[in-house]
């Protein structure tokens, strides 16, 4: 009997999850998303991957955080680009992205269409228009803030076309309807074999909110064209167990040695 439950039970569970996700407004046929390459992180996300056809919101109040967030989602985007789905639209407001910096993440600046918006309103309008264009791989928008209605519209547009939106929010105040919300902070870089100077970029990735998923915090490194989690050395935990509840996570201490 127990065997019967386990085989048909998982199928039922999956079907139920699927239904719930549909009720929550996810595009079921999108088929989840693209794995980030970090098992622990993917486990927290619905469907075990960074969902496509959704809005991901990144908080970046300070320029350092904004740069770190840009770096992190560029790393994610490089996986999108590998899928060969098409080009990228990058909507900026004030803070300019520097195209040669994208090369470090394997994104060719030639394939990116840059849009400069004069106001948040214009930026969000351009964001929504771009999200409706289904031949794109992803859209990045940097803006001050967006309210619940605006993000719901964006979420609907993304869900319909299957284009993923990355929203870098400079001054978050409102609750938003985005699928996930992240805060990325820079962390001490790792250089291989003790080479002096700044090494491979590392971030403290905080998943603040994920609809249909769990929140968590990890230290992530971008090395050799892929993302991976940094295993805290002293705790000795390896593999997927790196996933730690936010309260129990001691990244600074772990890396001090």
């Amino acid at each position: 009997m127990s065997q019967g439950i386990s085989s048909s039970g998982t199928a039922d569970l999956n079907a139920l999850r699927h239904r719930i996700r549909r009720l929550e407004g996810f595009r079921s046929e999108a088929g989840g998303g693209i794995p980030s390459g970090i098992e622990a992180l993917d486990a927290c996300l619905p469907g075990g991957a960074v969902p496509t056809g959704a809005i991901h919101e990144f908080l970046g109040e300070r320029p350092e955080d904004a740069a770190a967030a840009s770096g992190f989602f560029c790393a994610l985007l490089s996986r999108f680009e590998k899928k060969g789905k098409g080009s990228l639209v990058w909507i900026t407001r004030g803070r300019g992205i520097y195209a040669p910096g994208l090369l470090a993440y394997g994104i060719c600046p030639d394939d990116v269409l840059f849009v400069r918006a004069g106001s948040d309103r214009e930026a969000l309008w351009a964001f929504e228009e771009s999200l409706r264009c289904s031949s794109l791989a992803a859209v990045v928008c940097e803006a001050g803030d967006a309210d619940l209605t605006a993000t719901r519209r964006l979420q609907l547009a993304a869900g319909k076309s299957g284009v993923t939106g990355f929203f870098l929010c400079h001054a978050p105040r409102n609750a938003t309807a985005s699928q996930t919300r992240w805060r990325i902070r820079p962390a001490e870089s790792l250089s291989p074999d003790g080479v002096p100077g700044p090494g491979d970029p590392c971030w403290r990735v905080e998943l603040l909110r994920a609809r249909g998923g769990r929140s968590g915090e990890w230290r992530v490194v971008w090395r050799n064209g892929r993302l991976s989690a940094i295993v805290p050395v002293q705790t000795g935990i390896r593999g997927p167990q790196v996933l730690t509840p936010r309260s129990a996570f001691v990244p600074e201490l772990a890396m001090a040695g």
Binding site: L102, A104, P109, F114, R116, R132, S135, P186, P198
Partner: protein, 501 residues
């Protein structure tokens, strides 16, 4: 039947007159148009002042400079004369609908039945002369029964202008030299060697022997000039503007009406464009209201398009600006800028792939609202200065041709203008140990550099920059530079220029 009448216009100094017309200051200066042939530069057409000081066509540039040291030279442009003549032909539609180009420096009008409109042939000739003269062109005009005779008289006639009465061409062209028959140079040369200098001498000779010695061309030209053989001219066809008009019986006051009108116009315009294998880059909708006011809205595209849906979509952004007032009675859609467009481009741009929108179409829509300069692609430019290493382009066909992207690590965010920081370096050429930016103190833990970037001396003089990648104790990564070399006794200027991710 009416005898046909032709006018031949000859511009002896077409290109130099055009240069003076473009830049009136040249009228008082010696200048010449020069050409290069077989590695030798020679004067092709001297300006009036140059001619007075003895510069002649065919003279080598060095000789001309010796005569006139101030001589200003302009390069000969291959198709300039043709373009000029074509635009003159467009303008000449005021005299006759049949205008033919006669390169390199003339036009031929078929004025059959047109002269009376200006009060006869002589007033017409005066009018042509006066109007072209006002544009600054030297002109000689002749009218005759045949294009050949008119051509001969405009170039070789004793007086500048002449009207040969109907049927009088035989007597009139008799005294003219043989070259007036539009012959090849070597034929003229051979005729001259034989002492056959004027056309009258040729008319009397037996045709068979003329043909045997000089080819059929001579007799054909002779017959054409005398009106014994017909001559077909290739008439210039003015380019029809891409314009569609829709007058409304009942004035339109609603948006729905405007939409329908625009749809109709766009369909007609796109049909014509696809017939002529062209696509539009700019389109302008002008509406004329019953109260006499008119308004217009304009759209632009990044690539030539003839997709009706795309044009309508771009216009729908702008139609809100139109105030119909008491009603619109006339819609005019024009395409002032069109480009050739192949069938593949058509298929590529068509939004027919399962309703999928393409990137160029999206870019056009964004540009319509945000402005074309705000929607762009970034391409590398050949410069090491970080803020100059990138150039913008709004075209999708532009590709990075020669310049590569910089190979050294570059920050993801670059400050538009470097911000000054207070930095302390242990040794002059070392990266900073700590720096203060906007009141916050950053202790540098790791640093890499320097990468020295020299200023571009051909643009401006300035200090070199030594760039360092630095990481502070909380892992934040910056791109800072020291401006100028270290000088004892002076504090170095440090700047923050970017944020690494």
């Amino acid at each position: 039947m009416f005898p046909r009448r032709f006018a031949s216009l000859y511009f002896p100094n077409l290109l130099t007159d055009w240069l003076v017309r473009r830049d009136p200051a040249l009228a008082e200066k010696p200048f010449a148009i020069c050409r290069t042939a077989r590695g030798r530069r020679f004067v092709f057409a001297p300006g009036r002042c140059a001619l007075e000081s003895g510069v002649l066509p065919g003279m080598s540039v060095a000789d001309a400079r010796a005569l006139e040291p101030e001589l200003e030279l302009f390069a000969y442009e291959e198709d300039r004369a043709d373009k000029l003549l074509a635009s003159m032909a467009d303008w000449s539609i005021r005299y006759t609908p049949l205008v033919s180009l006669s390169p390199p420096d003339g036009l031929v009008f078929d004025i059959t039945g047109c002269a009376h409109l200006l009060g006869g042939e002589w007033p017409m000739l005066q009018d042509i002369r006066a109007r072209f003269g006002r544009f600054g062109y030297d002109i000689r005009v002749a009218m005759a029964d045949t294009p050949g005779a008119a051509w001969a008289f405009s170039r070789y006639g004793r007086r500048g202008d002449a009207i040969i009465p109907p049927g009088g061409q035989k007597d009139a062209i008799g005294p003219l030299p043989a070259a007036a028959l539009r012959l090849d140079e070597d034929v003229v040369l051979r005729l001259n060697r034989l002492g056959l200098k004027s056309i009258r001498q040729l008319i009397g000779l037996p045709r068979a022997s003329l043909t045997r010695r000089f080819g059929r061309e001579l007799c054909r030209r002779l017959d054409q000039a005398l009106g014994e053989a017909g001559e077909s001219l290739l008439f210039h066809r003015p380019e029809e503007p891409y314009m569609e008009r829709l007058p409304c019986l009942e004035p339109v006051i609603h948006r729905a009406g405007i939409d329908v009108a625009l749809q109709d116009l766009a369909r007609r315009l796109c049909q014509r464009l696809s017939r002529e294998k062209r696509g539009l880059r700019r389109a302008c909708l002008a509406v004329h209201r019953v109260d006499g006011r008119s308004q217009s809205v304009e759209i632009g595209t990044g690539r030539p398009t003839r997709s009706e849906a795309h044009i309508l979509r771009l216009f729908s952004e702008k139609l809100g600006q139109i105030a119909p007032g008491f009603g619109i009675e006339l819609f005019v859609l024009t395409a002032p800028h069109t480009e050739e467009m192949t069938a593949e481009q058509d298929g590529f741009l068509e939004s027919g792939h399962g309703g999928k929108d393409t990137l160029p179409e999206l870019a056009d829509r964004l540009a319509t609202r945000l402005g074309r300069s705000n929607v762009y692609r970034l391409l590398p430019r050949e410069s090491h200065i970080p803020e100059r290493a990138v150039r913008r382009t709004s075209s999708f066909d532009d590709t990075a041709c020669c310049a590569p992207w910089p190979a050294n690590p570059r920050p993801l965010h670059l400050l538009r203008r470097p911000e000054p920081i207070e930095a302390t370096a242990p040794v002059p050429d070392y990266p900073p140990m700590l720096f203060r930016h906007k009141g916050a103190l950053h202790r540098v833990r790791r640093a890499d550099g320097p990468e020295r970037i020299e200023p571009e001396w051909w643009r401006f003089r300035g200090p070199a920059r030594d760039y360092f990648r630095v990481e502070d104790e909380s892992g934040q990564r910056y791109w800072v530079y020291r401006s100028g070399a270290y000088r004892p006794g002076e504090s170095a200027n440090w700047f923050l220029h970017g944020y690494f991710s």
